[in-house]
């Protein structure tokens, strides 16, 4: 198999996408001028910045974002308080027409948010009338302060059903409901959306959070002239949350709707992880905010190479492929155990493994101060593998399974003589019988 055999296109709600990579509704999909450039770069479609109907004036706070770094690594997270589109509706609709004329084989999804039932209906209809291929209902923007809008709706499930139903009544194009992650169980609102007639679910919108506080003024960031706010966190730090919600919905048989995965996607590997957990399209914003539209070239090339390697010709054959291996923790086979294995050939002697094993794990390492190398006491290793997470050299620490008769040493008790003084009775699971 070679790359000419690979087909990245995918059917999503009956619409063909040339590839599963879309811009999500955000600053990166704010205008046709920008979206056109993204299409040239290779993106398969766009969820346009959420429309507003000109009835509520939209003014973005200034500044509206805060970059969250970790050590030397910039933008592992992004905090933003941007609102829905501040452009006049007619400008956005003219851009719709332009995009559909110039890029007919790219999918245009109109994101809408209403402040009333009628407004939802109005925005849905006007989107369809001006060329949108699909709708995405924004039930999840975390910084619209108006009651009955944004994620306030996403948290009031009957409203999700009601607004979805309203929209479905007045358009014939497919409708995606976009979920907020700021709840416990996403399948519940998703099923309400389904009851309202939604054809697909997208998730996640940004995670409510506070990324940083300005220590001089005691003001959470972004610092909008002295005031900070709980607002939407995005970027690589939220990927685990997004993957979890997508997998929950993919496994929910009552839901069984196509999913569009969002949250912390930058590379083909991130995208593929969403696909393997059940998403059939993926959406990106923060990755583009960090690196620009060009990252899609690497998503396309990287995914294609992976599919060649795995001899899988169609993206749809990857969708949900990891789900059968995703189970609850009670399904683990606890009889099988292992430990870390050390090959010190390339060890540089930093001793981080020793520090973390002592302070966070099984005390399984000793330190040879002469050679400046760790010594592994294999029987004490908890197999937590923390040491391998901090080791700066690849290939030194690996995991190895041990035979069934292998026993791990118990953690040491400092003073056995104190056992006589313990105030203790074994827990009885059924006190009624014992009494």
């Amino acid at each position: 198999m070679n790359k000419n055999d690979i087909d990245l296109s995918i059917d999503f709600c009956g619409i063909k996408f040339k590839n599963p990579f879309l811009l999500s509704s955000s600053p990166v999909s704010n205008s046709a001028e920008m979206v056109a450039r993204s299409f040239e770069a290779g993106w398969g479609g766009v969820v346009f910045k959420t429309l507003n109907s000109d009835t509520t004036p939209i003014i973005h706070p200034s500044p509206r974002m805060n970059g969250y770094g970790y050590g030397n690594k910039r933008l592992v997270g992004l905090q933003n308080v941007e609102m829905i589109s501040d452009r006049p509706l007619k400008d956005n609709l003219a851009d719709f027409l332009y995009l559909k004329k110039k890029y007919p084989d790219h999918v245009l999804i109109s994101s809408i948010m209403g402040f009333s039932n009628d407004e939802w209906a109005y925005l849905a209809r006007i989107s369809e009338d001006n060329g949108a291929d699909m709708l995405e209902l924004n039930f999840s923007c975390p910084h619209m302060a108006v009651e009955g809008a944004g994620h306030h709706v996403g948290q009031a499930f009957d409203l999700i059903e009601k607004f979805t139903n309203t929209v479905k009544q007045c358009v014939s194009i497919p409708v995606i409901a976009k979920m907020t992650p700021n709840i416990t169980d996403m399948t519940e609102p998703a099923i309400y959306a389904k009851k309202g007639g939604a054809d697909a679910i997208s998730a996640i919108n940004t995670v409510s959070g506070i990324s940083q506080i300005d220590l001089d003024g005691f003001i959470p960031k972004p610092n909008v002239f002295g005031i900070g706010s709980v607002s939407g966190t995005s970027g690589p730090i939220v990927k685990p949350i997004g993957l979890r919600f997508i997998s929950d919905m993919a496994k929910c048989e009552d839901l069984s709707l196509p999913l569009s995965g969002i949250g912390g996607i930058e590379t083909w590997i991130d995208a593929l992880e969403y696909i393997l957990l059940g998403a059939s399209t993926i959406q990106v914003t923060t990755g583009i905010i960090h690196y620009g539209y060009g990252i899609v070239e690497d998503m396309i090339e990287g995914l294609t190479d992976f599919m060649v390697e795995k001899k899988i010709a169609k993206v749809k054959d990857l969708v949900g492929k990891a789900l059968p291996n995703l189970k609850t923790t009670d399904k683990f086979d606890l009889k099988r155990q292992g430990r870390a294995r050390y090959d010190l050939t390339n060890c540089v002697g930093c001793g981080q493994c020793y520090t973390v094993c002592r302070d966070a794990a099984g005390f399984a390492l000793e330190w040879d101060p002469e050679k400046r190398r760790p010594i592994l006491n294999e029987d004490k290793c908890l197999s937590c593998m923390i040491c391998s997470f901090v080791c700066p050299v690849s290939g030194i620490i690996s995991y190895t399974e041990m035979p069934e008769d292998w026993k791990r040493q118990d953690a040491c008790v400092m003073d056995r003589s104190l056992e006589t003084q313990i105030k203790y009775q074994p827990f009885n699971a059924n006190p009624l019988i014992s009494s």
């Binding site: 070679n2 083909w268 590997i269 990252i295 690497d298 090339e301 990287g302 390339n346």
Partner: protein, 441 residues
């Protein structure tokens, strides 16, 4: 070779890349390598894509990653220099090429060889890159090599500590995979033989024979005086043990200030020489060798005798060299071209006791090389006259590139010529095919 990157180190270095919008590094390579692109791909975990970017452009991408003077090419304009230091592009490039081999990734599918036969003379970097490019386009390529094994300067001219032969083997495997045929131990040496290949079924010829005749300082031959070519090629021509005996614990002088001189001095040091003296008649900063090479040589404890000019060799009663008579020089005032030349200091002669001398003052074309291609115009140094933008010689169907055209130059420039020639040969043969079809029609 320098300590090479493992995955973690390479990725961390790539992560330092600022991903400049207009990637100045990508404008610094004579062979059009695009580090801005392959580093971005690497950073985006598109690792095969990164390897593809390197190898599609340069079949010797691994070798160039190791051998290129990156500090004055791609890394020169790196914006990272303004923060602290440039991204180590060469080392990332080398890592990616090696990593591709480790994971068994083949960039190229074996092309169908359906087009005309093309002959390449010389299997150095120019010949190899030309051969590989032509093979990719579907030509049947035969590379003729006078030595027993392919590689040219990569095998016989660069010491192993700088570029290992095992590494060369892996680079060559990629070229063999493309279907390029090697005829080693097959010198093209008869009068007119290079041109005669056109009568033997080859529709075009690329001459990339390089410069393998060492210039010498004095006319007479003295025992114990090597030229750089014989000295550096000794490990691959069965003379390593003899050379080792002559060098180990002995006093060695290398004459010259270029990269080859640094290699000779480093090679002598690696063989266990007692002391190695590097003799150069100008100043340290005027040495043609790269700054990094000069500093490396200093770190190898090589003694730099700058501003000294050899006048004669002294010999012992067995006729072996035993010393060099040197004269101290000082630099003249700058003239028109700005380069200050050395002027002998009167009565400053002195003698350096020495057991072995290596002359590394530059290579030139073989004396009779022009007889192989009498129809091809050459200059007074017997360098072939060919245009740099298409490697075309004065004779149709004969192309030339690398050092035999440029004079002593970098591996990456030879690679560039190989690519240029392959494209020019392809256009020439496409035109030729079109003409033949018209005639037949």
């Amino acid at each position: 070779m320098d300590k090479r990157y493992d995955f973690t180190q390479a990725f961390a270095e790539a992560d330092r890349c600022l991903l400049c919008h207009d990637a100045p590094c990508s404008k610094g390579c004579p062979a059009n390598t695009d580090p801005g692109k392959f580093i971005k791909k690497f950073k985006m975990q598109n690792i095969k894509g990164a390897i593809r970017t390197i190898k599609e452009n340069n079949i010797l991408g691994g070798a160039c990653g190791i051998l290129c003077p990156t500090a004055r090419l791609c890394e020169k304009e790196c914006a990272g220099s303004h923060l602290d230091r440039p991204i180590q592009i060469g080392k990332i490039q080398e890592f990616l090429v090696s990593h591709g081999r480790q994971i068994g990734f083949k960039v190229f599918e074996k092309p169908e060889s359906i087009l005309e036969k093309v002959a390449v003379i010389g299997s150095g970097p120019a010949g190899l890159s030309c051969g590989a490019e032509l093979a990719k386009k579907g030509y049947k390529v035969t590379i003729f090599e006078r030595m027993d094994e392919p590689g040219g300067v990569l095998r016989y001219g660069v010491p192993s500590y700088r570029f290992s032969k095992a590494y060369l083997k892996t680079e060559l495997e990629d070229i063999i995979h493309l279907g390029v045929k090697f005829e080693c131990g097959h010198p093209i040496k008869k009068d007119g033989e290079a041109e005669d290949l056109l009568n033997k079924g080859f529709k075009a010829v690329f001459i990339a024979t390089g410069l393998w005749d060492a210039a010498s300082i004095f006319d007479e031959n003295t025992e114990g005086v090597y030229n750089s070519v014989d000295f550096l090629s000794s490990p691959h021509t069965g003379r390593l043990d003899i050379v080792k005996d002559q060098v180990k614990d002995k006093q060695v002088a290398v004459i010259g200030g270029g990269s080859v001189a640094m290699d000779c001095a480093g090679f002598a040091a690696s063989l266990g020489a007692g002391d190695v003296y590097l003799i150069y008649r100008r100043s340290f900063s005027q040495m043609p060798a790269e700054k990094e090479e000069r500093i490396e040589s200093l770190e190898k404890n090589i003694h730099f005798l700058i501003l000294n000019q050899p006048e004669a060799y002294l010999t012992n009663d067995k006729g072996m060299v035993s010393g060099i008579k040197l004269v101290r020089t000082q630099l003249s005032q700058a003239k028109g071209d700005g380069r200050r030349s050395p002027v002998e200091i009167k009565d400053s002669q002195w003698v350096l006791d020495i057991d072995l001398v290596v002359e590394a003052i530059g290579n030139k074309a073989f004396d009779l090389s022009d007889k192989l291609y009498p129809g091809v115009d050459i200059d007074d140094k017997k360098l072939i006259k060919a245009r740099l933008d298409n490697c075309q010689t004065s004779q149709q169907a004969i192309f030339a590139g690398g050092d035999i055209v440029r004079g002593p130059s970098l591996v990456v420039n030879a690679v560039c010529d190989g690519k240029t020639a392959a494209n020019a040969i392809d256009s020439y043969l496409v035109r030729r095919r079109a003409k033949l079809t018209t005639k037949e029609g």
